[in-house]
Symmetry: C2
Subunit: 147 residues, 2 copies
Amino acid sequence: MKERTDWPPELKKTKQREEIYRILELAEKPLSVNEIYVRIDRALCQKYHVAVSTVYRIMFAFEKHHLVIKSTLMGDETALYEMNRGGHKHYAICLKCHKLVPLEMCPFEKVQIQTKDNDFTITSHKIEIYGYCKVCQNNLQKQGEDK
Amino acid sequence: MKERTDWPPELKKTKQREEIYRILELAEKPLSVNEIYVRIDRALCQKYHVAVSTVYRIMFAFEKHHLVIKSTLMGDETALYEMNRGGHKHYAICLKCHKLVPLEMCPFEKVQIQTKDNDFTITSHKIEIYGYCKVCQNNLQKQGEDK
DNA sequence: ATCAGTGCAAACGATTTGCACCTCG
DNA sequence: CGAGGTGCAAATCGTTTGCACTGAT
């Protein structure tokens, strides 16, 4: 099964792009441009500098070539990017610690979506689940008992 | 069945707030702050002026009191507000004309969401469906034939 | 009279762009 | 060599905030 993470031939290779690609590959979660920017500087240790605007431009190019997936979370205006690893993924977001908990499967696999006249052709979807992760849940409970 | 659209007593009534409330009641779709701003000016016809910052502050207050629901759509950073009419609603968004087509029901009513250890307590969710509405679908088809 | 609500302009943070220079292919 | 990529700084866009003033209760 071929992953979708191969480099598109029409995308010129530069050290900046390869560095960002590497960072996204290693990322444990979707990253903001600023997080990427910081990780570049950390990885490059002054060898050379990458401009923020370059990061934006590269993310734009990556997105266009479907190398990455862009998303935004509720109550936050900054965009997040993660490597497009084929089969799509959804997250549950903890309202307290903001941790992202990946869902095991896409809940839509089993669902039919209905509009008024069923005249809408679906090409993609986005789901965000909000609530509390186990840790925060336990903490909240404890706080309730401590009184 | 009581609607959630009654005015919270702790929210002072002012002409600005009442005007915005009216606009949201009449709105056929979620509105951006700017759209609200334009509609106010149109409705008030120079009688007096409402500042953009005021609109933001009022939307913040309305949101806090659950009078409105705030949301953001993919590929657009501006926030949208719609009157909270109780039972929540989702939309299918046309990628071509950007029309919002309301879903008949929440697809999650029938679905179980699973995280790794099922240790996540869900309090809310957000769904966005993307694709093509009937009109745009037909247009695309026609374009295909015309050659 | 009091305190929340408002207008205005300035501040802000994320993202974009214009332009000169650089580098991959 | 030439087109496309990059760095830098300035511009833009949505949103927020400080402050003095106004208005609802």
